[in-house]
């Protein structure tokens, strides 16, 4: 069992959905990003996705693009992203960490060394946006063998014929992309998401996390009723961006604003008695 498997089992026993939070590694700088990462579980994040910055994130909207470029301009590299995970793990051995990004930085790392370093650092899962089932043979078996979950994306365009292939080698959870679009640009339609999630559930016993376009407490609450996890990404990244100064540098407000939003979103998933403290 990976930390991801344990977390979803734990959430199930609590009878609630989990909050999956996305931050871009190194945005707006390494130290601020690491401080936020360390504080996320305390603010109510159940699972943490760390974006591995890429210069050309073509499935992402303006907020996450800008966030990747801020991180890269501040000197973030793959090695530094893995080092954030390593530092986080010295204090937290239970919160799952999923690395999310695009294939090229992994490919040139290269793959075998990336998998070894990611596992050693304490990462639990991997989402590679531009590596569909047709191309993931060169990464997935190595990552799975090393004990990582490789999480695949299902989308509104994934039809019934294709769904089994998408689900066949995924583990940890299934990430359902709630809109046919780029991250954070449109509001997902709850009925259509429910229908798709139902179709996926009929084909797998894995937990499902829904993401792309989730911004408000109401949306978190609605998706929590149909899926095991709700992913919030662009909304957090936008909140971080708004807290920066005119030159894109962190301010006093950066960490508390981001964590405050996480706390508000996570509180709707928890019983009033166990509201988290920041």
């Amino acid at each position: 069992m990976t930390r991801i498997d344990k977390k979803f089992a734990d959430l199930k026993s609590q009878g609630r959905a989990g909050l999956v939070t996305f931050i871009t590694g190194g945005d707006p700088d390494y130290d601020t990003s690491l401080a936020i990462l360390k504080a996320l579980p305390g603010a109510g994040a159940d699972i943490i996705e760390i974006g591995m910055p890429f210069s050309d994130p073509m499935a992402d909207g303006p907020a996450i693009q800008a966030s990747s470029l801020r991180a890269l301009n501040a000197g973030q590299t793959m090695k530094k992203t893995l080092s954030m995970v390593r530092e986080f793990r010295t204090k937290d051995d239970t919160t799952p960490i999923v690395l999310m990004g695009y294939y090229n930085p992994i490919y040139v790392y290269p793959v075998d060394r990336f998998v070894a370093d990611a596992v050693e650092a304490g990462a639990d899962g991997l989402i590679v946006v531009d590596l569909p089932p047709e191309e993931d043979e060169e990464l997935r078996p190595a990552a799975t063998a090393a004990g990582m979950n490789v999480i695949r994306l299902a989308t509104p365009t994934t039809d019934a014929k294709r769904l089994p292939a998408v689900l066949s080698n995924t583990s940890g959870f299934v990430y359902y992309v709630s809109i046919a679009g780029i991250t954070g640009t449109a509001a997902p339609d709850i009925d259509s998401v429910a229908a798709h999630v139902g179709r996926i559930k009929a084909n797998t016993s894995l937990p499902i996390a829904v993401g792309f376009g989730v911004k408000t407490e109401d949306q978190v609450s609605a998706f929590a009723r149909i899926a095991e996890g709700v992913v919030v990404g662009s909304a957090l990244v936008s909140a971080l961006a708004q807290s920066l100064d005119g030159e894109g540098k962190a301010t006093e407000a950066t960490k508390p604003e981001l964590l405050g939003l996480v706390k508000r979103l996570s509180s709707v998933l928890r019983h009033p008695a166990e509201t988290v403290a920041v």
Partner: protein, 410 residues
């Protein structure tokens, strides 16, 4: 990780790609899941169209009567005399409707879009030649069209931006990243992901996810097929040497593909060396100055740093200023069938002026790179060496940029 670079199993260089869209290590379908079903549908629709004789017949009629094919194979007599070596021919694809080879591919893809019932066209453009060709075919068939173009490129290719607007296209300025072709391609892909239900993406070069590299090559291979016939007619034999410029590589694949299995034909692809191949991030020569990676749906040679971040690259030519190259070129490079070289901005500008003065042809800055290599290569070859250079675009669009570089008053 695949590490084997295939040499062809059979004795042919023309069999690729395989069913998964791979040319050896290169190519493939590295796209987000949202696009994957669309790519598969496109592949099927293209296979159906290829099997339908009426598809090719309609395309042939459009190429003949709308685009003006076949383009002439012209003996560049004064350039040949001046250089004193190989007998130089130009394949005159700059005489096509819209002024470049791009129309060959656009007519093919818009026919496919119509077969698939798509009602909205999107495209990326660098120099604007592809954008103009897309806007043209969209106007011809009455489909709305959005062209993504980097803000930097909009500035240096104003005449083409105006042409696209006249043709009814919406030109969207892309300001993300470096505001050039790669960023325009990112935004076109984002548009496609968000509008999968009605939109057809006309990619302009032999890159992107399978089936685009093979499909665009096939639509462009008319260039090489005509060249073969015309040369047989003129000289009674095959050419000895082919030269074409490479950005993404569509005009080059179009010329080369028909000749890949003719061992007597020596083939050169000319990349944009910008300020020089040794200047970091100062050129756009992905094969002579980059390494394999994954971008825009395919694995290919890329300009990138040690962390796998894509570099912007530089070329005087907006059409060559792309950090990648079509995957089939990457495979042809590794297999040794094609020799890839680079020339600098300065050399291209000199060749631009030479051709204009000696032949009365104003070449685009893109084929000026091929010409610059011809000026080095031709004098080393015997006078019976038949050399064909693809004059893939005309230079009207570039006169403002050239005036600026040469410090000339217009």
């Amino acid at each position: 990780m695949s590490t084997v670079t295939d040499t062809p199993a059979q004795n042919t260089y023309r069999a690729g790609p395989d069913e998964q869209g791979h040319f050896g290590l290169y190519g493939g379908r590295f796209v987000a899941e949202t696009l994957m079903p669309l790519i598969l549908e496109l592949e099927q629709a293209y296979a159906d169209a290829q099997a339908d004789p009426s598809f090719q017949a309609e395309l042939d009629a459009l190429l003949a009567h709308y685009a003006g094919r076949p383009s002439p194979l012209y003996f560049a007599e004064r350039l040949t005399e001046h250089l004193g070596g190989a007998k130089i021919y130009f394949k005159r694809d700059e005489l096509n409707h819209t002024g470049s080879h791009k129309i060959n591919n656009c007519l093919g893809q818009i026919q496919l879009a119509r077969r698939m019932g798509r009602t909205r066209i999107i495209a990326e453009t660098g120099a604007g030649q592809h954008g103009v060709a897309v806007a043209t075919v969209a106007a011809r068939f009455g489909l709305p069209c959005v062209i993504y173009m980097g803000a930097t490129d909009i500035e240096r290719q104003r005449p083409n931006v105006f042409r696209m607007k006249l043709l009814g296209a919406e030109v969207k300025a892309v300001t993300s990243g470096s505001g050039t072709l790669k960023d325009a391609m990112n935004d076109a892909l984002r548009d496609w992901i968000a509008n999968v239900h009605d939109t057809f993406y006309i990619i302009g070069t032999v890159a992107g996810p399978h089936p685009y590299p093979a499909m665009v090559r096939n639509f462009q291979s008319v260039i090489g097929k005509e060249t073969r016939e015309q040369m047989m007619e003129r000289e009674g034999r095959l050419p000895d040497t082919l030269v074409a410029c490479i950005g993404g590589g569509s005009n080059a694949m179009g010329l080369f593909h028909d000749f890949l299995d003719d061992p007597s034909v020596t083939i050169y692809g000319v990349e944009a060396g910008g300020h020089g191949i040794d200047v970091e991030n100062g050129h756009a020569a992905s094969m002579t100055g980059g390494k394999p990676g994954v971008l825009h749906g395919n694995r290919t040679y890329l300009l990138q740093d040690d962390d796998g971040q894509i570099l912007e690259g530089h070329s005087i030519s907006a059409g060559l200023d792309y950090p990648g190259v079509g995957p089939e070129h990457s495979w042809l490079k590794d297999s040794g069938r094609v020799t890839y070289v680079s020339v600098t901005d300065k050399e291209a500008l000199t060749a631009f002026q030479l051709c204009t003065k000696l032949e009365g042809i104003i070449p685009a800055l893109e084929p000026s790179h091929a010409l610059a290599y011809v000026t080095k290569l031709a004098p080393t070859l015997p006078s019976d060496n038949l050399l064909v250079m693809n004059m893939c675009g005309r230079g009207d669009k570039d006169i403002f940029a050239v005036a600026e570089h040469l410090h000339m008053e217009m």
